[in-house]
């Protein structure tokens, strides 16, 4: 178990290094230098040289890269924006919590619902309930979240006053209003993965239930619920892997959802940074998202290893 974790962590760390290098080189290889973007077209070469020296941009690119990575690893410092001069850490600290809360909420709800729905669908195979669950799953993967968001805003916020059309009420103002303002965005964010995970749970559980050892278990007198628990334990492995990936991917979709609902989250900050051509910020946000993604996958591996000890032994 520990060795599996260490091996996976090592691989993750390597891929993070690689990913950060690619990201860094790409942001430095754009034709417009940061100095040009900030100082404008009228800047003299002397101005630009001065700006570059100030921000350490005159150093070779690898030196710049190791400074940046060193800052992140040793000082937990993501650097400063060239265009606004704001510290990235503050920016992330201001915007990450709301995105994190939104994604967590969407993730937990979609995992819980999809496990229940998928299990029900597999156990009650070919009943109307199963057809209903499968229909929801097909619709969920087909309807784009941001369009659903527009339609739901129209229906629940404009026509009726059930939920606010956008923005998030700070939790310090009013806990109930805060949660109410998160319902629509979280639903639109989670529905796709809820559908994906429901399908996976159903098909994976059906696979396991069809195997011989399940019949043996029943024949040797284990009760149905007990057998189902064993089956679930085996069936969950692929579901957990995909759930781990979903968590990371949700941060990407959060970008679109935050845009629709006017939420000032980290994904929204990424979009703003792109529009303002603030590449240092783009770099920082993408790095944060990639770390979240990698850590979520790592967690999924660990959960799987505890669900199925053979996987840990094989590693």
């Amino acid at each position: 178990m520990a060795s599996l974790f260490l091996r996976r962590a090592g691989v993750s760390l390597l891929s993070l290094l690689l990913v950060s290098l690619v990201l860094f080189v790409l942001t430095r290889s754009i034709p417009d230098s940061p100095a040009r973007i900030v100082l404008g077209d009228e800047a003299t070469p002397a101005d630009i040289a001065h700006f570059d020296a100030d921000h350490g941009l005159d150093k070779p690119i690898l030196v710049q890269y190791f400074r940046w990575v060193g800052g992140i690893v040793f000082h937990a410092d993501l650097g400063k924006s060239f265009t606004t001069g704001l510290r990235m850490n503050d920016q992330v600290a201001n915007t990450l919590p709301v995105t994190l809360e939104l994604v967590m909420l969407a993730f937990v709800v979609s995992v819980v619902v999809s496990l229940a729905l998928g299990t029900m669908s597999a156990v009650l195979r070919d009943t109307p309930l199963d057809y209903g669950a499968r229909l929801i799953a097909v619709l969920g993967v087909s309807v784009p979240g941001f369009w659903l968001a527009l339609v739901l805003i129209l229906f629940f916020a404009v026509d009726r006053d059930w939920f606010p059309p956008g923005g998030v009420v700070p939790i310090t103002d009013d806990v109930y209003e805060h949660l109410r303002s998160l319902v629509l965005p979280a639903f639109c964010l989670g529905i796709f993965y809820m559908a994906v995970l429901t399908r996976m749970t159903r098909s994976s559980l059906l696979d396991v239930l069809g195997q011989d050892f399940m019949r043996t278990a029943r024949a040797s007198g284990l009760s149905r619920p007990r057998v189902l628990m064993y089956a679930l334990r085996n069936a969950l492995v692929p579901v957990v892997t995909i759930a781990g990936m979903s968590f990371g991917h949700m941060f990407g979709w959060a970008l679109i959802i935050e845009q629709v609902f006017n939420i000032d989250g980290l994904s929204h900050a990424l979009l703003q940074a792109i529009q303002q051509r603030d590449y240092a910020m783009v770099q920082a946000v993408v790095m944060v998202f990639t770390v979240v993604f990698v850590v979520a996958n790592l967690c999924a591996d660990v959960v799987n290893a505890s669900l199925n000890p053979r996987m840990a032994a094989a590693a």
Binding site: L23, I30, P144, F146, H249
Partner: protein
Amino acid sequence: MIRLHRLVNGFGGPAGFLGALIVIALLVMAVGAPWIAPRDPLLVDISNQLLEPGGQFPFGTDQSGRDVLSRVIWGTRASLSVSAIAVVIGMAGGVTLGLIAGFYRGGWIEQITVRFLEAISAIPILIWAIALVGIFGVGDMRVGPFVLANEAKLMILLGLLYIPTLARVTYTTALVQSQANFVLARRLQGTGGLRIMVSDVLPNCLSPVIVQATLLLAIGIIIEASVSFVGLGVQPPTPSWGNMLADARNYLMSGEWWISVFPGAAISLAVVGFNLLGDGLRDRLDPRHAAAVLAT
């Protein structure tokens, strides 16, 4: 009757057949847009602003008096071309890598390829697609003698990001196929490795790849729409389903529902079509293979 039955089963049953019909209809719309669309999708007509669906305009008109129906039809082109070319790029790269790694198993080629794929699969696709389009700047980009439109950038990026998924699918199948007896037989006949790989192993790996590619087409449509929706994909005035929805957002509160409902319905229909076709093809071509799962 028997012929129809056979045709339906060819797509894995009625659902898959329905998917195929939807996909064919979309292809016809994309290719034939200039002839099918009743009006010019770019024609601004202020006297016909924001008309409700009906009469001359079955889907109504938008804020500039443009015909929503014609724009939805032309939008098919943008969505399908981005998604399809991305999948072609992903297949070219992914199948090649996966095939080589699976066929020359146990060697350093396999090691390097598998590690490389592992490293890039640590990348959340959508964020990277958005960030990369952002880094390269929205709008045309000059690469040597070529000018890349924004759509082209999106296609290439998406295609590169599809490579790991398709490579993994090919790799797992190629690994098994390369050890099959017919490969051994070919070797005993004295056929060269490269030749066996391309003409014997490759055709046997294609079923799962085709299934996965169909599902990626559906995802590509959603990603194109999402990226265009936030203004980083297909640029106005060229209509795409995503940027039509971005316009529609401004008219949400005032009750002009048709501007947002029709493009959204088109996206959903397209995604349902590709998903049904993909599931049907899986039942038909690759029934024992579990869903090699979604890439986003």
